[in-house]
Symmetry: C2
Subunit: 180 residues, 2 copies
């Protein structure tokens, strides 16, 4: 081997070292780090997108829940007032023949109308019953009579207790007598 050839070989070695120190292997290390960084970004982006979807879901869920809470807010109090409505209506059926009685009934009538109006504003109304076709979702049959030409089968012929609903929810089914 000549001296020049040795120098040449040394240079080649230096060349390789140079590549080793600041070249290919470092690039490979950087590539791995870059790939890791990109993978971490991707993972974080995924977490962010899921969190954003969760925010949208929560927002919708609570909007619906809030609407239901408002729509049916008077369900409990309304239900508890139904026996009072019954009692007021029973009192209205009592015959009176003096001024005190008439005065009392006038008061009862005012209260009855006022309570019914307040309930109606909250969405609570009497279930249509008399003369309607029997509907087991709205009416409870406690007695039957034979059907006739005037009262065909499934017609409600008498209401024993009024039923009430809050919007689409039945607070209390009507108690009825049905033709069968």
């Amino acid at each position: 081997m000549s001296n020049k050839e040795e120098t040449n070989e040394e240079l080649q070695e230096e060349h390789m070292e140079a590549i080793d120190d600041s070249g290919v292997s470092e690039v490979e290390a950087e590539m791995t780090e870059l790939e890791n960084a990109k993978a971490e970004f991707s993972e974080m982006e995924d977490k962010f997108l899921r969190a954003r979807a969760e925010i949208a879901n929560m927002s919708n869920r609570f909007k619906n829940e809030r609407e239901l809470l408002v729509r049916y807010r008077s369900q409990d109090l309304g239900k508890k007032l139904l026996p009072s409505l019954d009692n007021l209506e029973r009192a209205m059926a009592i015959e009176v023949d003096d001024e005190q009685g008439a005065s009392l009934k006038k008061g009862i009538s005012m209260v009855l109308e006022s309570v019914q109006a307040a309930l109606k504003e909250e969405g609570i109304e009497e279930i249509p019953t008399m003369g309607e076709v029997f509907d087991p979702n709205l009416h409870q049959a406690v007695q039957t009579i034979p059907a006739s030409d005037e009262t065909p089968a499934d017609t409600i012929v008498e209401v024993l207790q009024k039923g009430y609903k809050l919007h689409d929810r039945v607070l209390r089914a009507s108690m009825v007598i049905v033709a069968q």
Copy 2:
């Protein structure tokens, strides 16, 4: 310049080219890309953390809102029923001397108790008034009388209309006469 020297120079040039092609400048490009990727990750992480904080906030906000909606759900219907309570109490004050009157008053008394019980279950109660110290948050003074030894200044001496509150909220202040 000898032939060997030329070869040596060529090799050195190649060496530099090698560094240029796959060495320092590529590393710098990778570094920039890596820095970008890290910055993007950091930005995304920040967005994720803010989204997570928003989820926690929303959850708390809706929990509180839901509690308030349930706690005060009977505010509107309760408020609308107050004139009926007044009317029922006025009716109870009417004197009767026959059986029909007594029967009516018995019915009214049942309705009154039932409505009061239903309201109480929802958190609606009469504001303590008679003999209490006047509180402008709870009572509305519509008239005054001179204070005396038995009724010192600021004592409520007469209730003209009962007041009601729903938990801590005043639905209707008591209308009162106060010693001054």
